[in-house]
């Protein structure tokens, strides 16, 4: 498993351009894993950094910029997923849930991922975000709770509920 640096040990930004260059890959990856669509990543990254540059003077701890950008990304991704859910309800959204950027996966894993993100689209947004952060982004439970803005118990409950639904609905034929 990949080892991640603690959130508070990220160095502070050295300007708007530098901030974008340093953190846009992280924001783009997190956004892609949360929403599951390549086309939404650009808009999400733009919105995250617009919000970052508007609110950057209010940030007391520059070392926590990565965690702060992650929280903004999770919040905006949740807003976009809810908007997409509404569009699907009215029949305005017919895109595929997952567009994998690489074909380096085995056919079985590719099928699992496609089926997994299709099931994620049926979950409540809060549970989807918590489960994705925990099992796809591989964050700790405490970080999941902090990123989702909820308590640790709520984060655990959301992850467990989503896990139960996903395991029951994701079956791959041998």
């Amino acid at each position: 498993m990949r080892q991640r640096a603690p959130l508070h040990l990220v160095p502070p930004p050295r300007g708007d351009d530098r901030l974008f260059l340093d953190y846009s890959p992280h924001v783009a990856r997190l956004a892609y894993r949360l929403v599951g669509r390549e086309g939404d990543v650009d808009d999400l990254v733009q919105d995250v950094f617009v919000a970052a540059w508007e609110s950057m003077p209010l940030l007391d701890e520059p070392r926590a910029i990565r965690a702060w950008l992650s929280r903004v990304t999770v919040r905006l991704a949740g807003r976009r997923l809810r908007r997409r859910r509404l569009a699907q309800f009215f029949g305005f959204d017919d895109e595929e849930p997952l567009e994998l950027a690489t074909s380096a996966l085995s056919p079985e894993s590719h099928a699992v991922m496609v089926q997994l993100y299709r099931r994620l689209d049926e979950l409540p947004v809060a549970e989807r975000l918590a489960w994705t952060l925990r099992h796809v982004e591989d964050e700790s439970l405490e970080d999941v709770a902090a990123l989702c803005g909820c308590s640790l118990a709520t984060a655990k409950r959301r992850i467990a509920r989503a896990q139960k639904i996903l395991l029951a609905g994701t079956e791959i034929a041998p």
């Binding site: 650009d42 540059w53 997994l116 099992h135 994701t170």
Partner: protein, 286 residues
């Protein structure tokens, strides 16, 4: 699918779950950020303008509502202590003679220093009762109170009031006669006969008037006219026999020359009457 199997697939796919975040794509997104900031700023300004417009509208509404309120402060209410006022005794003379007067609403307002006392004159056995304004306030507005039945100590003179009910007049006539005010009683009965000629009680009133004039007031000819009127008003009733017999008595008392003829007419009309012997005696025939 088991959790371990799902974790295995996730570990394998984690490297594939990466967007194609190339420098060119990053520059493209980076170039869009100022426009996004401007849009964000416009949205923020629009939100503030909308908030200001709402606050302004609320202020205008509140201001217009406050302008409708009277600008001047209300005048302080002066509280005047009420002092009890001794009611002055009112003396009303009871008149035996009929007096032509109009019935008036016996109410007078008496101003005593700063205290306003409303005096209601109500008829009682003694004549007058007085109620203060405070009492009238306890009972509600004076105008809303039912007017006490105004019965003056002296009976009203009915000749000027044709609207007075017949039963009231008859009762007043009985009261006046019982009280010894015979002239008043006769006057009331005359009013009854004159004002209500078609009422079925009028013949009885005419007989009462005739008896009063004949027996008490020594006016036989006027009594004769009253009895005649009663007989004419109810010729087929039992009263006609009594009225006819009393007509004969009136003529006898007045020594009228029509006495004999009237007595014979009674005998012809009521040959079986119990009063026939009396009428024959008065008429001078056997």
């Amino acid at each position: 699918m088991t959790p371990e199997r799902l974790r295995h697939h996730l570990d394998e796919a984690r490297t594939a779950l990466e967007p194609a975040w190339t420098p060119a794509r990053a520059d493209h997104v980076r170039a869009r950020i100022p426009a996004g900031r401007r849009r964000h700023r416009r949205q923020r300004v629009a939100a503030r303008l909308a908030t200001g417009a709402c606050l302004l509208a609320i202020g205008v509404i509140l201001g217009s509502a406050l302008r409708r309120e009277p600008s001047a402060a209300p005048a302080p209410v002066e509280i005047v202590a009420l002092r009890p006022v001794e009611p002055a005794p009112l003396v009303i003379e009871a008149r035996q003679e009929p007096v032509r007067s109009k019935r008036v609403d016996a109410r007078a307002e008496v101003e005593a220093s700063s205290t306003r006392v409303l005096v209601d004159r109500q008829r009682s056995s003694a004549g007058v009762t007085i109620s203060s304004d405070a009492e009238s306030r306890r009972e509600g507005p004076a105008d809303a109170r039912p007017e006490p039945e105004a019965t003056p100590s002296t009976p009203p003179i009915p000749s000027e009031q044709p609207r007075v009910e017949l039963s009231t007049l008859l009762r007043q006539a009985d009261e006046a006669r019982s009280a010894g005010r015979l002239v008043t009683a006769a006057s009331i009965l005359r009013q009854v006969v004159r004002a209500h000629p078609d009422d079925p009680r009028t013949p009885v009133a005419s007989i009462s008037l005739g008896r009063l004039l004949l027996e008490e007031l020594d006016s036989p000819m006027e009594a004769f006219a009253a009895f005649s009127q009663a007989r004419a008003a109810a010729p087929d009733s039992a009263l006609a026999e009594d009225a006819f017999a009393r007509e004969v008595e009136c003529l006898a008392r007045a020594q009228d020359p029509r006495l004999a003829d009237h007595a014979r007419a009674f005998e012809a009309a009521f040959p079986q009457s119990a009063r026939l012997a009396r009428v024959r005696h008065l008429g001078g025939s056997r």
